[in-house]
Symmetry: C2
Subunit: 262 residues, 2 copies
DNA sequence: GAGTGGTCTAGACCACTGT
DNA sequence: CAGTGGTCTAGACCACTCC
């Protein structure tokens, strides 16, 4: 009853979990596997595509298929926001030792590579509504990419938007050279007198775009989590909107909700 | 440079977005489409698989492919937890009017169908660690399924675990006939003197299992969000662990994080 | 150049649906 | 029964990697 490629995939899964095929090891060639399991090549490739979507193997064009090493999960905890807020007013020397991404992964700051680009863009309809400003208002768009130094693929891609006018009081904020790490965005906002009151995060899962497949090094049917973070200041104004794309197979989001006592 | 099936998919996407192919309408047969786009059938099927994974079409075996109607998003907001806690002590009459799922979707209680099964199970290693009890401890396992009355597919699947001993004080809680809706789990716990202090939710995205594909009516490469909710009471004890599976294409999770003032 | 996976084709046969 | 999508095969040719 089960389909042929599912049965083959199940047998391969067992060989992997039994340790017969070890992590990092190369699988036999697809043609050889097809012969071994008495199937056609496309059917064997369907089976391998299943394992790929489950994150059990890596496919490398021109080289082979490999048993995947157990991955390191990047954890993103909403307590990071309070932590970042607390840090916003401490000394620069203290801040330099650790940044927000390290807080998530437990890595030290020296393990991280960080890239950022700054651009001024007009607000589209979506962002104009979020910020409650007219369409076309000048925004500062910052694009981030965070990754482990040893790793080839980033943990996340982020696009952050701020209304240009609200932060123009501090010229440093418009300079990509003075990137906000490890000070953090809340520290930047502090320099222009903005205090955050609460943060709303919306999360959906969807298949990655072609750019995200390339930039995050995704393979097969693995999907991404799209997180939109909206920061609201103490006057109720939206001051930052950020879209973060997280690889679904390497990320765990953690949210703690405190409850009022009876 | 772009692959053939990607170019075909892009053309079909445009025809759908332009409204040439309307929502609910049947697409031409795959063989006809293959001829129209001068491709082989498998290539056309690859293109359609892409649209399927993006949620743009539905495939129905033996009938045809259909342009998908814009889906209703189920929203799950972490403010629901405080809302549920507040409700735990109000009168039954008041509680009967609305339940937690209605709070998410904006539907009224009469639009919902709800199914539950109760079972006693021994704690496996994972759950024993979560609850900090010995492996094999008796747990009450409740399985839920929530959906719209008109819809054929559920919004979510949930498996909730409670330590049997901690709730044995109220026999009603062990009876599937007195299901916890619309009272809610926090109301149940209130009857045995438990007050929740905070809730931790962990979220990952992954491809669905075969059971989840069937039960949630998922198609193609659509993945699910797996949410593990852990409820901690005022003494710091874990009193409930729930695993919720949410269809990635129909769900939006919303988390609000309040920040302490300076 | 030899070996690998990636894309695409042409077509057989099966399973499901509605008449 | 006719028409639909689902699975599987056999094989050509291309793109990438390493020697």
């Amino acid at each position: 009853m089960a389909k042929r490629y599912e049965r083959i995939a199940e047998q391969l899964r067992q060989r992997i979990r039994a340790g017969e095929l070890e992590a990092g090891q190369r699988l036999p060639a697809e043609t050889a596997l097809a012969q071994e399991y008495k199937s056609s090549l496309p059917t064997m490739r369907d089976a391998l595509a299943l394992l790929l979507s489950e994150g059990l193997i890596d496919k490398k064009h021109g080289i082979g298929n490999f048993v995947r090493k157990p991955r390191q999960l990047a954890r993103r905890d909403n307590r990071r926001h309070q932590w970042e807020k607390n840090r916003a007013r401490v000394s620069e020397a203290e801040r330099l030792t650790t940044g927000a991404t390290e807080h998530d992964t437990g890595l030290t700051v020296s393990d991280l590579v960080f890239e950022a680009t700054y651009r001024e863009v007009p607000a589209d309809e979506d962002l104009a509504e979020q910020f409650d400003v007219p369409v076309g208002t000048t925004l500062l768009k910052r694009t981030y990419r965070t990754s482990g130094r040893g790793e080839d693929t980033p943990f996340n891609l982020a696009r952050s938007y701020l209304v240009h006018e609200t932060i123009a009081g501090n010229p440093d904020l418009l300079d990509a050279g003075k990137e906000p790490w490890p000070g953090g965005t809340q520290n930047q906002l502090y320099t222009v007198g903005i205090e955050l009151d609460h943060i709303v995060e919306r999360i959906t899962a969807r298949p990655p775009t072609v750019e995200e497949i390339e930039e995050l090094g995704l393979q097969g049917g693995i999907s991404v989590m799209a997180l939109r973070k909206t920061c609201i200041d103490t006057s109720g104004r939206v001051v930052e909107v950020a879209d973060v794309t997280l690889p679904g197979d390497r990320t765990e989001l953690v949210f703690t909700t405190p409850l009022e006592r009876w």
